[in-house]
């Protein structure tokens, strides 16, 4: 990205105009290093969204349908965990994965896998808590019907997850958004290693440290554009699927 670096100026309108110009250039000219960083950002955040979906959707549905002592406590804990501070999660995962930590033998620290783990910890609560709310509302509506069909817990959960799939897509997008936008955790567990664990947000933090504010903001605009494009894609797919499979 050095080729597109421009001499910085102090804050203000100039910087912002310059950033948009840079962002436009980055989006139209495929710089191989930028492509690699964008690719890693998407790979890490999509992987953590997937892992979180596999954990969070069943967990949310289970808490919505099941009745057990301490259920209210679990709901409050899940809701509160949506606001987990990324830097604390990063530090905790760092200590777990460090060679001196309990999972040190796997050597995962400073790899993309460590970043996926940290992001998963951050977004499982979001997906589980929002899923719980959606499924609980659907459960209130369909409970009698499902019980008259003698559906077991397992079957009821799956049916409700399927019935609310369009709402749950938005939940997944919320999780992905948090993962892609996050910097505090991934910079600690990934180490922002050039070509290995440098993602969009950590690259932005680095360019800011170098005082190259136009490039930093330009990268930010690229990141926002990508997240926007992904959401447009999801929205269109959803509309299409709804029309087709309703």
């Amino acid at each position: 990205m050095h080729e597109i670096a421009v001499p910085g100026t102090i804050g203000g309108v100039d910087t912002i105009a310059q950033s948009f110009e840079l962002a436009l250039r980055m989006l139209t000219h495929f710089d191989s290093r930028l492509t690699q960083i964008v690719g890693l950002s998407l790979a890490v955040s999509l992987s953590s969204t997937l892992c979180s979906a596999l954990i969070g959707l069943p967990l949310g549905a289970a808490v919505a349908i099941a009745r057990f002592p301490g259920r209210n406590g679990v709901i409050v804990a899940l809701n509160a965990a949506m606001g987990l501070p990324p830097v604390v999660v990063g530090l905790a995962v760092y200590l777990l994965l460090s060679r001196a930590g309990p999972l040190g033998e796997f050597g995962l620290l400073f790899t993309p896998a460590a970043m996926v783990i940290a992001q998963t910890v951050l977004i499982v609560p979001i997906i589980a808590a929002l899923t719980r709310q959606i499924i609980e509302d659907a459960w209130a509506e369909y409970r009698e019907q499902l019980q008259s069909l003698h559906a077991g817990w397992w079957q009821a959960g799956l049916t409700l997850l399927w019935d609310t799939r369009f709402s749950l897509l938005t939940v997944l997008l919320a999780g992905f958004g948090r993962a892609a936008a996050e910097v505090g955790a991934v910079i600690i567990v990934g180490g922002n290693i050039d070509g290995v664990t440098r993602v969009m947000t950590t690259a932005i933090a680095l360019e800011t440290s170098k005082g190259d504010l136009p490039l930093a903001l330009g990268l930010g605009i690229v990141l926002i554009t990508l997240v926007m494009a992904l959401n447009v894609g999801a929205y269109v797919t959803r509309g299409w699927a709804r029309a087709r499979f309703g």
């Binding site: 670096a5 992987s47 930590g101 799939r165 922002n192 290693i193 005082g211």
Partner: protein, 275 residues
């Protein structure tokens, strides 16, 4: 639709991750300082090393204090930092084997062109620090356990100032890396101690420029050490030692000397010295 979506997501992300994980070369992890990374030295040096040896170097750039801690925990193979006292203490605790001096550069005192403490063009850093403290002129401190912060504390001591006691609102402890601290200083028109490399590569200078340089107390030595393989069996002893040997070899030393910004040499090789 959800299952199909999830399936697609699974395929896409596993494809992406596996394509990214295809590191062909053996690699080492080097915990180093923001000054070596942000000055651009590593992007100049490492390709030459990789070309010579086929070993990739993954740099985690943090403050010296944190870099030493990463090494202490066994999360890096080599540490490459600049705080001799802290390095020797670290070695003494059995965290590493031998310390090799590699190169030096220097610290510079940066300040606003308006120069409220009247220190511009001084040659004596202790005098400059005394003047800043006397004028209560804004001064940005890293305050983060970095090598630069250690040097700053040493300089206050040299100037006969007990900064812990004497500091007031004019002394701003940011607890951040060199770049963010420079951004802060630029926004507040404050004085700040920086390593020369980071300063030369720093774009957002605002009204700041170098006000004091060249005092021998501003000398900044870098050392490199292998993390103790006896303490951490996962350390890639041979690959890490190869990196160290290359850095102190004539070829590595030459590569360090040839790194310039705007024709200015940033780091001066001095392997084999007792610095």
């Amino acid at each position: 639709m959800i299952t199909r979506g999830l399936g697609l997501l699974l395929v896409a992300s596993s494809m992406l991750l596996s394509s990214l994980a295809s590191a062909d070369n053996p690699f080492i992890v080097v915990a180093s300082t923001t000054s070596t990374e942000q000055s651009g030295l590593f992007s100049h040096l490492l390709p030459a090393f990789t070309k010579d040896t086929g070993i990739d170097v993954r740099v985690v750039a943090v403050g010296t204090g944190q870099a030493l801690d990463i090494g202490r925990r066994g999360d890096a193979d080599v540490v490459f930092v600049h705080d001799k006292a802290a390095e020797l203490k670290w070695l003494g605790e059995g965290n590493g084997v031998t310390r090799y001096p590699v190169m030096y550069n220097d610290f510079v005192l940066i300040g606003p062109k308006s120069d409220p403490a009247h220190v511009d063009d001084g040659k004596d850093i202790a005098v400059a620090f005394r003047k800043i403290a006397a004028a209560r002129a804004p001064f940005v401190s890293r305050a983060d356990k970095s090598g630069t912060y250690s040097a700053e504390l040493r300089l206050w001591k040299d100037a006969g100032i007990d900064i812990a006691k004497d500091k007031g609102p004019w002394y701003r402890e940011t607890g951040s890396g060199m770049g963010p601290a420079l951004n802060t200083a630029a926004a507040m028109n404050a004085y700040i101690l920086s390593d020369r490399g980071t300063w030369l590569n720093f774009h957002n200078r605002g009204d700041l420029h170098i006000v004091v340089q060249g005092d021998k107390r501003l000398f900044n030595q870098y050392g490199v050490m292998l993390v103790n393989p006896a303490k951490h069996p996962n350390v890639k002893k041979d690959l890490g030692q190869k990196f160290i040997d290359w850095l102190v070899s004539p070829r590595g030393q030459q590569a360090i000397a040839s790194y310039k910004i705007d024709g200015e040499e940033l780091f001066f090789p001095n392997a084999g010295s007792d610095s």
